[in-house]
Symmetry: C2
Subunit: 200 residues, 2 copies
DNA sequence: GGCTCTCTTGACCGAACGGTCAACTGGCGC
DNA sequence: GCGCCAGTTGACCGTTCGGTCAAGAGAGCC
């Protein structure tokens, strides 16, 4: 039936959902196939192995994330910085409303579970994180040029710090049952403490 | 042969090592038994299910962590704050020298992988994190009373922020191949930015 | 010496796992 | 109208998974 051209995409989107609601290890290829209404042979027509599915899911989330980060606007760098915090909060709020609770960061979850298990996936995740961090860094450098960063705050280190905080805070929300708005709030706090007094 | 009384401990310690070097899903009960030189029947004599092993490993790490945090001394709260950053860095450095790279936080790894999969384990991890955070909070409150915290910095929020940062930074080091000393350095930066100028 | 109780052993189980394959099917280019 | 090929199907494979169990063996107590 060499038909529907959306099979691969359906597999990836379904997997993204299943991986968020559970974990890589607890989601089987059979689970994915059943949820996507695809037979296993078709699955292995598109993906050489289960690990390649994880990579495709990472790519899906990377596209969505970068698009959303780029949409963070504002007249000042400080506003844009808070804008990315809102973007992260918005993504998490979306997951929260879909799954009924904070289910973690798609990148962070896979990174924690698999970066000591699968080297090529770890590389894949590392470059996804790098792109994310670079997005942060651009705004941090703008903030530095606008002179709103506190004395001694290095923009690159701040970008890294923001990413670390994002990951950690989402993980704590996942295990502690906190809400996505809490995540965003903590992120805003962290940004504020790095800005000069009165800077917005 | 109702003999050796250290079997259970040997299982837990071996599992702790295996779980750090890989992941919960990729370590089988058979793997653990082989590495600990224990037959599977013995394993299931001590643990009702594989998940209970994870709990025991969490307890092992919790004891080690709290002991190490309590050892963080110093005349001022600021020094003790930097002391806990060193403690975290020291633990990670230990793992790094054992496994040849940063392998993540034992709590964070399990939390990311399993807190959407196993509710009782998630609770277990949540209370471990809570105890950890309380350890941070005690020192943060001391810092507040000593007046070394920047204006507007809430000690409880700072403790939470420190924990989030710790988790996120370790995860980034794991996936990015950074060293444990980098982790500690970022933590020191975060502490410094929350302290008044000149406070040590 | 024998009883008891904890611990140990190795064989065993059904289910689920990731992955393979030969056969088939429909749409598209010629 | 026909050949080609990406896509589809369902049966199938060997392995590994978490977990069970009946039988035994040593230490401690009386």
């Amino acid at each position: 039936m060499g038909r529907s051209r959306d099979t691969r995409e359906r597999i990836v989107r379904t997997s993204a959902r299943l991986l968020l609601s559970r974990s890589y290890g607890s989601v089987s290829v059979d689970d994915v196939c059943a949820a996507a209404d695809v037979r296993k042979g078709s699955f292995y027509h598109f993906f050489p192995a289960k690990a390649d599915l994880a990579k495709a899911v990472v790519d899906l989330h990377t596209d969505a994330l970068l698009e959303r980060l780029a949409a963070a606007s504002g007249d000042t760098a400080a506003q844009r910085l808070h804008g990315v915090a809102d973007a992260v909060g918005g993504i998490q709020a979306g997951f929260e409303s879909t799954f009924g609770r904070v289910v973690g960061c798609p990148f962070g979850n896979l990174a924690a579970e698999l970066s000591t298990v699968d080297d090529t996936l770890r590389d894949h995740l590392a470059s996804a994180f790098a792109r994310w961090e670079r997005g942060f860094a651009v705004i941090c450098h703008q903030a530095a040029h606008e002179g709103v960063l506190r004395e001694g705050v290095d923009p690159d280190r701040l970008a890294h710090s923001l990413l670390a905080h994002t990951q950690g805070r989402i993980l704590l929300a996942k295990v502690g049952g906190h809400s996505a708005t809490d995540v965003a709030a903590t992120l805003h706090d962290l940004i504020d403490v790095h800005l000069r007094e009165g800077a917005v």
